[in-house]
Amino acid sequence: MTTVEDELEVQVLKVGERSVLRFAEYAFSFFDSAFARSPDGFSFRLADDSFEVRGHNPDFFNVIRNGLAWEPAGDAASPCRILLTDRTNPLLPIAPELRSPYFRERHVERSLSGTRYRMHLFPDIGFWQFHDLEKDRAIQFSETPAGFPAWEPGSPLRNFLSWHFSRSGRRLIHAGTLGENGVGILLAGSGGSGKSGTVLSGLCGGLESVGDDYVLASSDDVIRAYPLFSAIKQDPAGLKRVGLEETPAASGPLNWQGKHLIPLAGLHQPQMRKSIEIRAMCLPKITGGERTVIRPTDAKQAFLALTPSVVTQVPGDRDQNFAFCGTVSRRLPAFAIDLGRDPEEVSAAITTFIRSLA
């Protein structure tokens, strides 16, 4: 029996900054037939939208299943379709190879901004991602089935999710979340500011969360945060601070940042909420003080805490992500949180604060 792989001869095409658009158009010309005949697939719902991923990569399917806050798929007429292909299991008759020794991502983004395509390249490992916004379909090229970046398991398909949800005005933001009864706060700040630790403390104190790192946000009549990724990240010392060092997750492997991935659902919340209505933006800071102090700050400080990470880390439409962060920062009251050193006290203080917002 011949397989799809046996039939395909893959033409490797040199792709440079000026030929990215042509390559994207050419690659997507093969998409529908390749997607239809892909051997394996996984359909799911995420933040009320439908997705279908197909390819020949069981390991990456597990990454998706384990890393996304997904729900079973319904009967969706038009899911976002994502095709996974690699050099060892090619599903398309072409594959990209970088033409020059470097790739000026911002230049390429600018050239694609007026088109229907978005792309990202991690050149170190030949990891290419293309998205057709008009037909909401995407292709991921990698050298091998396991040839994805180290951070992918903690936030699988992040770029595709960003491009997909941007079509309906929702955007990824880099923030933690805490809430009670569906109402809560964003926690914004740089790495090391205490976002994840604060989320973990809040969860242990009975609060709920839809994420500690990247969440999906909408800014309609209210600001709302939706879960995308299923785990919270915390280093061993952080787990010990909240008394979770003996849990099964604490004995698991460390990720590329030296942190454990701990499933959010089941971590002191029976299941994750579909969304949290956000009433304030909070900027945590580790002070080591006796007590947690929450005090008003201004929208500009909130913006400067919220924006740089997402603009740097999420490719394509950075100007729109910048503007979205501006909108969110102006609409929400902003507060600085000087974190006390006792996780239980931190949780209690934030719970009281969230209740004051309801």
Binding site: Y102, R106, A299, K300, P308, S309, T312, G326, R330
Partner: protein, 144 residues
């Protein structure tokens, strides 16, 4: 006091210059370099006048005794590669609107580079960026 400055129309260097306003101040980002800048309220007002097409001479004159300071401010915006002169555009002359915008500005316009934000992003856009690839690609040594 008059100031002999060239009457030019300044425009943002390209679409990589984006900005958002917060309580009268402006935060500007150069998407190509990853550098953030903060403009105080007088600077934001002048930026707004520039965006409306007023010429640099008209803006400086409408700023009254601050004209020399404003001229220096134009120079700084150009040195930071946020604005450039567009010789193809005809400067909009001063009018009551411009005078109204700048008449109440007494403090000096300032633009500060938020280089401390380098700690907040993946790389210091000034020192760690791959020369050829540009921001946001960082040099291997900076990544480690």
């Amino acid at each position: 006091m008059t100031h002999d400055i060239a009457d030019e129309v300044l425009v943002t260097v390209n679409e990589d210059i984006v900005f958002e306003e917060f309580d009268g101040d402006l935060v500007v980002l150069n998407l190509m370099t990853g550098r953030y800048f903060g403009l105080n309220e007088p600077a934001r007002i002048i930026w707004s006048a520039i965006s409306s097409g007023y010429g640099t001479a008209a803006i400086a004159q409408a700023s009254g005794s601050n004209g020399g300071v404003v001229d220096e401010f134009f120079r700084r915006l150009r040195d930071l590669e946020l604005l450039t002169a567009d010789a193809s555009l005809v400067p909009r002359p001063s009018d009551d609107i411009l005078v109204g915008m700048l008449g109440n500005v007494t403090a000096a316009p300032t633009v500060d580079a938020y280089d401390d934000l380098a700690d907040l992003i993946a790389a210091d856009p000034i020192h760690d960026t791959e020369e050829e690839a540009g921001w946001p690609h960082i040099k291997p040594a900076a990544r480690d």
